[in-house]
């Protein structure tokens, strides 16, 4: 942890975004994570994404659970709302917050321990409800904060720092999400921001639950030879299945990722453009996507990119027909129609 504060200097060549903010305005407190932790890079990617999307920090709510990864919301978007929940319970808090105010952008940051062990049930139901949020799992294969025990994402055969191997089969958050109805499922790598930042942008703008599993090495407990979540191994074993980018409404006509790029229009008016590495891969076909990922997994390959997307799936508010207007903006009379109204509702079932 550094003793000095990061100097606040606005680079004379850096341009503000369209709401007049500089990238510095998207920073948070100085990180207290280990030097070189992948999580800090993901934070940097998140800052860049919100900056480029021209989203003001006060229109964002950051939520997290417990873990090194879950500490990171402190280190970005100083001006955003935030909630640091108990271990594994962030999805419930996010669901509740989203139900009360659907107008904010929600970003949840969690770890493989927080999401796949204690919080697995919570995560699954938030996916099923298609809560409109971006959910980032900073996946390092260990419980970093408690000194490096294997997590539920550790691969069979991957070794811990002292040499012992993991024997339990891993839970893959990607396959799980595709399986239970996830509407935006992606994988990135903290060491490859060129691909990660577009995924984060698209995830923020997607209507519904966007899950990004980011391989984010723990330099202290899981970056050695024998680990399958190290920087080196991830670089050697991963390949992009798809290159995707989010194109906002204003740029739509001019910015084209590539000739022959495929397009998924989003509900905000922007679009996701993507180009497959393999022609046969189709990120809008749920079962084909799952099959492809499983095949790669069997070959011990890590696939990255926007692996599945369905922007038409109804989200929490549509499914439960709840108020589109944030509760804080409703008149007291509407929010609380009084004892008489309650009586009438109860009588309707009697």
């Amino acid at each position: 942890m550094s003793f000095i504060k990061k100097p606040r200097i606005i680079h004379p060549e850096s341009r503000p975004n369209s709401i007049g903010l500089s990238i510095n305005d998207y920073e948070g407190a100085m990180s207290t994570l280990c030097a070189g932790c992948g999580h800090d890079s993901v934070s940097a990617g998140i800052m860049q994404a919100f900056f480029e999307l021209d989203i003001a920090p006060h229109n964002v709510a950051k939520l997290s659970g417990i873990g090194c990864s879950s500490k990171t919301p402190t280190y970005f978007l100083r001006g955003a709302h935030g909630f640091n929940s108990v271990h594994g319970r962030m999805p419930s808090i996010a669901t509740g917050a989203n139900a009360a105010n659907g107008e904010l952008h929600y970003i949840g940051v969690s770890g493989d321990g927080d999401s796949l062990s204690i919080g697995l049930g919570q995560l699954c139901h938030a996916i099923r409800r298609n809560v409109n949020m971006l959910y980032v799992i900073e996946n390092n294969g260990v419980y970093g904060l408690t000194k490096g025990q294997f997590s539920a994402s550790a691969d069979v055969g991957s070794t811990a720092k002292r040499g012992e191997a993991n024997h339990l089969r891993p839970i893959d958050p990607i396959l799980t999400a595709i399986d239970i109805g996830g509407s935006f499922v992606a994988r990135g790598f903290s060491g490859d921001k060129d691909n990660l930042v577009p995924l984060i942008k698209a995830g923020i703008m997607h209507r519904g639950f966007a899950l990004i599993d980011v391989i984010s090495p723990c330099v202290t407990f899981n970056d050695h030879e024998g680990s399958t979540k190290s920087y080196l191994h991830t670089r050697q074993a991963s390949h992009a299945a798809i290159y995707a980018d989010y194109i906002p409404v204003r740029d739509e006509i001019t910015a084209v990722l590539d000739k022959g790029a495929n397009v998924v229009p989003l509900h905000d008016g922007g679009q996701v453009q993507f180009r497959q590495v393999d022609d046969k891969y189709d990120p809008t076909d749920r079962s084909k996507a799952a099959g492809y990922i499983r095949e790669c997994q069997e070959r011990s390959e890590i696939v990255t990119g926007l692996l599945y997307i369905d922007d038409d799936a109804p989200d929490l508010h549509m499914l439960s027909d709840t108020s589109e207007t944030p509760l804080r903006d409703l008149e007291f009379k509407t929010l609380n129609p009084g004892a008489k109204a309650l009586e009438e509702i109860q009588n309707a079932w009697s």
């Binding site: 942890m1 550094s2 003793f3 000095i4 504060k5 990061k6 100097p7 606040r8 200097i9 680079h11 004379p12 060549e13 850096s14 990238i23 990180s31 280990c34 030097a35 070189g36 932790c37 992948g38 800090d40 890079s41 934070s43 940097a44 903290s190 060491g191 921001k193 090495p217 330099v219 970056d223 920087y231 080196l232 670089r235």
Partner: protein, 598 residues
């Protein structure tokens, strides 16, 4: 791009913008840190090593370092480098016991220096510790050259000047005051082993317009300042016109104010932005209510009944031509009344005392041909330096010329090739103290530049020699010191250790780092985190990184040397190392012979 060769001392030297810009390569950041530690004497001595006159230069240096200072790019204003130098000089105490020792046993070689200005004095300073006998011939009764005769005492007190000159004279100069050299030939008769010409550029330019020779009240700036310095001139009329808007004009107008000029105008041909005067000199003049009249071109001195009554000017307007040059157009005529006119339109050399038939070649402007590295003329053993070498410059250049000429003179007297000089070297030493602790103050201080305190406008005109600038208070100095970014504490990169985690890139407060695939320079510059198109500022490019074969690129331009990259790097691939430039002086040459092979 090819990987950067950081073993070439000039790479890290250029990162220290101030030191690179300083003609004498003064180690600015180190002397600032010494002040911070209260080690004023050490700070002074470090300054003196390269610039010889820290007390003088801490007041009146032309300070090419300040426009170059990185702080001026990170925010609006550079570090007040010059003012801090004065802090060191004012508080240094007696430094004489720490000066180089002059051997009692002389080496039997005699050197003549012509002129007792800063160039000759530097030559003496460098050669006396080697055992040379140095004779200085000076036409006036006083030493110091233009520092004494032209730089007014309200900018440079005589006591400060005397003290620093005396330090050199006390080393044992054979000083011949009041002895003008009227023939170089006479000195080249074999009684000296080498001769150094440090006679400056003593002739002020004249303006031959109608009426020029009809009045005694038209003065040439540098002659007039000299006669004020020697107290031959003690007053001036109330309305004064100064022609020209360079630094000499600034000294002339402010001196006029102190001698009775109540209405002093400086006349410029061009608009603001094209003035030759340093911005701070201009500021000080305007603070003293001197009016600057722009776009006026002198036409005639108007003399009536043998009395100067004013000047007429063409009033100009400027347009830009296609290539952006200013083109003037006369739009009218204007008469400005005055009692005196001072011409401050430039200086030139005057070598009427150098015979043209003894092998000293002159160029087509009638200036001797001097080698830029050795300062030798085409006559072997005859060296030039200061304003005499390449025309009027400033004190710090004259000092640097003096150092280089001294090296040549020494090698010449030893019978060696004067082009065989010691190369500049570089030391690098880690500043790491513990995990996130460094041996320098790496925390960025956002304070703005401190303003110099000035003697009250009412009081400062009471006497001619009241020094206007009061120096920094200790509080001001303490803040200003922290503004320095320690550019000499270099970010040194070891590619073998990098795991490409991006931590350094993410933390850098000025986004100067990028990991990317290597390309040609232009493409690489365009592809950086923040594109860097200013080629004056260096790019560091690593060799291929182990994991992906990409390269680490650093744009040196705005690096604030905060060490955060090194703190956030998990592998120690970045380290903060202090670079020390090793500049050879004449004294170093002594120990370096015989040259070792390789």
């Amino acid at each position: 791009m090819n990987p950067t060769d950081t073993s070439d001392p000039s790479y890290y030297h250029r990162v220290v913008d101030c030191q690179w810009a300083c003609p004498a390569h003064t180690d600015v950041p180190e002397y600032i840190r010494l002040i911070a530690q209260g080690r004023y004497r050490d700070s002074y001595l470090l300054n003196r090593l390269s610039n010889v006159f820290p007390g003088v230069l801490g007041r009146v240096c032309d300070r090419p370092c300040e426009p170059a200072c990185r702080r001026g790019r990170v925010e609006e204003k550079p570090v007040a480098i010059c003012r801090l130098k004065r802090v060191a000089a004012d508080l240094a105490g007696d430094i004489r016991p720490y000066l180089p020792v002059v051997p009692k046993q002389k080496n039997g070689k005699r050197i003549a220096c012509i002129g007792a200005g800063c160039a000759s004095l530097t030559v003496a300073n460098d050669l006396l510790p080697l055992g040379y006998e140095v004779v200085i011939f000076e036409q006036f009764d006083k030493t110091g050259g233009l520092m004494r005769t032209n730089i007014p005492a309200f900018r440079l007190p005589e006591t400060v000047l005397n003290d620093e000159i005396d330090m050199i004279l006390e080393m044992g100069v054979d000083l011949r005051l009041g002895q003008r050299v009227d023939s170089i030939k006479a000195l080249l008769d074999g009684s000296f082993d080498a001769v150094f010409v440090g006679t400056g550029a003593p002739r002020g330019k004249d303006l031959n317009l109608p009426g020029r020779n009809e009045s005694e009240r038209i003065h040439i700036g540098i002659e007039w300042l000299e006669s004020v310095a020697f107290k031959h001139t003690q007053d001036i009329g109330s309305n004064v016109l100064i022609i020209g808007v360079g630094n000499t004009a600034m000294d002339c107008c402010r001196t006029s104010k102190r001698l009775g000029g109540s209405n002093v105008k400086v006349i410029a041909r061009k608009p603001r932005g094209y003035f030759k005067a340093s911005p701070w000199e201009l500021e000080d003049a305007e603070e003293e209510q001197i009016e600057i009249v722009v776009n006026h071109s002198p036409k005639e001195f108007v003399v009536e009944n043998e009395r100067l009554i004013g000047m007429t000017f063409d009033q100009l307007n400027y347009d830009e031509d296609a290539s952006g040059n200013l083109v003037s157009r006369v739009i009218g005529e204007k008469f400005l009344p005055c009692d005196d006119v001072i011409l401050a339109i430039g200086q030139e050399n005057s070598f009427e005392w150098i015979e043209r038939d003894i092998g000293i070649e002159f160029d087509r402007w009638d200036v001797p041909i001097i080698d830029r590295q050795t300062y030798q003329s085409t006559y072997e053993g005859l060296f030039f330096g200061g304003d005499a070498a390449f025309g009027p410059e400033n004190i710090i250049w004259a000092v640097e010329h003096g150092h280089q000429a001294a090296i040549s003179i020494h090698n010449y007297c030893e019978g060696r090739d004067i082009k065989d000089r010691l190369p500049v070297g570089m030391n690098l030493a880690s500043t790491k103290m513990s995990i996130h602790e460094w041996s320098f103050s790496n925390d960025f201080d956002p304070s703005q530049r401190r303003e110099m305190r000035h003697v009250d406008l009412q009081k400062r005109f009471d006497e001619l020699n009241i020094e206007v600038e009061m120096g920094f208070s200790s509080d001001q100095a303490a803040v200003e010191i922290e503004r320095c970014l320690n550019c000499d504490i270099q970010t040194v990169f070891s590619e073998k250790l990098c795991i490409e985690c991006d931590a350094c890139i993410d933390v850098c407060p000025v986004q100067c780092l990028t990991i990317t695939s290597n390309k040609e320079e232009d493409a690489l510059r365009a592809s950086l985190t923040i594109p860097a198109y200013d080629k004056e500022q260096l790019l560091f490019v690593s060799s291929d990184l182990p994991q992906t074969g990409r390269v680490m690129v650093k744009d040196e331009n705005l690096c604030v040397h905060c060490s955060l990259c090194a703190e956030r790097c998990p592998t120690g691939a970045w380290d903060m190392r202090k670079s020390t430039l090793l500049i050879p002086y004449a004294l170093d040459e002594k120990d370096a012979w015989p040259r070792k092979a390789g």
